[in-house]
């Protein structure tokens, strides 16, 4: 999953981003299903199915359509270039290992080794959001962040209660749709998706 997250940092075209996000979601689905199998928790299968439909099929399909309608957009000039992005991502993962040490120590679950990776992925998602210019890339960054938190929930606690999990998915879906609506509005008013141009509001 972390690999897919980091792939976002060196690929340029948006369709590659969406592909990376889809692979990441698939890995997440498998993780949930495996934890459900070994932890004997049938609820997690439901979560895995919802995840599969939502994050591996619906959202990537929707993003792809959005992308085609906009014409192939490339993240041509991110704020931070590829080489330094990768270094920053490495440092963020190290940071994640440092701050999650107490977590790993108190946990007795067999999955505890993955906790720093999940937190690292949260940081990488955040970094993608702040270092990229295109509105669509920022949406993908946000989705990666959400995936990371779902992974954290799965690894730490074998899944949070079902009602909360489903509510969260609903929120993510709604949030994603609303962001797309606003992306359309950005295009209609600014004739571009470069968030660089969103700099009118000061004092």
């Amino acid at each position: 999953m972390l690999l897919c997250g980091i792939a976002l940092l060196w690929r340029h075209s948006l369709s590659a981003y969406i592909g990376a996000f889809r692979w990441q979601s698939l890995v997440l689905v498998v993780t949930f299903a495996l934890i459900g199998y070994f932890g004997h928790d049938p609820e997690l299968y439901i979560v895995a199915v919802v995840l599969l439909v939502l994050k591996a099929l619906v959202i990537p399909w929707y993003l792809r359509r959005l992308n085609e309608r906009m014409g192939a957009e490339r993240e041509s000039r991110p704020y931070v270039n590829v080489a330094s992005s990768l270094i920053v991502a490495g440092l963020l993962v190290l940071l994640a290992y440092a701050i999650t040490r107490p977590l790993v120590m108190v946990s007795s679950l067999p999955t505890r080794g993955g906790i720093p990776l999940a937190v690292g992925l949260i940081f990488v998602g955040l970094f993608v959001i702040v270092s990229r210019r295109k509105a669509l890339t920022q949406i993908v960054g946000f989705l990666v962040l959400e995936n990371a938190i779902a992974l954290l929930a799965a690894l730490c606690t074998y899944g949070i209660p079902l009602i909360v999990e489903l509510g969260v998915f609903l929120d993510v879906l709604m949030g994603c749709l609303v962001m797309q609506v606003i992306v359309y509005q950005i295009r209609d008013t600014f004739e571009s998706f470069d968030v660089e141009q969103l700099n009118q509001l000061k004092h």
């Binding site: 937190v119 509105a135 950005i186 008013t189």
Partner: protein
Amino acid sequence: MNFLLLLLPSLAATGLAVTVRPYRALVGWINALLSLVALGAALSFARHAIRGGEALVFGPGELLRADGLSALLMVCVAAVVSLVLFSSPGLGGETSYKASQLRRYHVFINLFVFSMLLAVSANNVGVMWIAIEATTIFSALLIPLTLTKASVEASWKYILICSVGIALAFAGTVLGYFDFVSRSGRPENALNWPVLLSHAPLLHPEVMKLAFVFLLVGYGTKAGIAPMHTWLPDAHSEAPAPLSAMMSGVLLAVALYAIVRWKVVVDATLGGGYTDRLLIVLGVLSLVIGSFSIVLSHNYKRMLAYSSIEHTGLMCLGLALGPLGVFAAMLHLVNHTAAKSMTFLLAGRVLRRYHTTEITGVSGLLTTMPVTAGLLAAGILAVIGLPPFGLFISEFALIRAGFATGHPWLMGVVLILLAVAFVALISHLNRMLYGAPPRDVAAGEGSGWTLVLLSVNVAVLVTLGLTLPAPLATLFDQIVRIVSR
């Protein structure tokens, strides 16, 4: 039963607004009347809490719960909602919006209201998170009601920054739950607040420290605490006036409520010092950024938005200053809700008349719209904490709490920052009230209905400035017992 009366009216109003197309004024009126039902339910919760009743729970898995703290927030939210819906566009008076815009407005504002009410009545901290995230989604759709570059930019920043922030709060929730699971197994309703609280002393301090940082950053983004406040001035200034009134008046308070709920749990694990230190640092930072940005702002809606940041900072400080501080913070919350919902609605009236948000573009308000000008002056004088308005009392109580808990230097800094905001707001207000009005601006008040409603806010502010009614005192007393155990 009361829970249904609280939550269903806004859903019914949404349904009504969705089904009736094109939009008619009758829909607006029915929705406004429905909001009174919710207000009644909220008041009945408050009455129950004041009489010392146990917290009420409702639904499968005790999904909803109302104690004194949630009752106070419910009353604040429901009251502002009624105020806003009764002075919304599309109730028959002249309006610049098209029917489709009005329909969209009524659909999403009621969904927004529903999610705020759900957030303060949820028992499960996960559901509380879902509801708060939903407030972002619904309100982001309302900011660009009229599509302009500025409003689209504001809503993009708003939804992106707040969604990311709220996602971090969810990571914090997961960490808290993780700690809970690794200590106490998986009891029923483990994410319910009372269950969390009763197990809190057993939790692992290091994990809870990390979780609270995530939660504070996450919900703090939504509450407009510096340095996560950057979306706030844009969103508050570009949103339609009724929405800004709700966002500034109650949405910030709802996010703060989430922080308070978690603070109680984390304090039970760690003792008070840790969360208090974090809240003091962020509170002072918000005060600094809020008050100096007021000095620099030349847009009156942004000026009010920065003042909201400043007041959120004050409330954070209060929460960190012991029982008296909690009392001051809660009183401040009520006062701020009354004052800000009023000033933002008035700012909307000024904007409709002058067609500019620049402070320099507005002059001679006293001659063109005397009543609006008077109320705006009262609102801003209340916001800067002059007697006889309630914010004077709550700020005074807060400063006293600071001295009582041994933070004299901190209180000195707070007083200086309050003075900065005071001078800046007064001079901006002066510029707007006096002088000769621009030629093309017509004189006269227009429809006075909103002004009648807003005088209720003034009455609340003055009452709270002169006395603390006994039922309210009991309610605050209970909240203090909930928050600083």
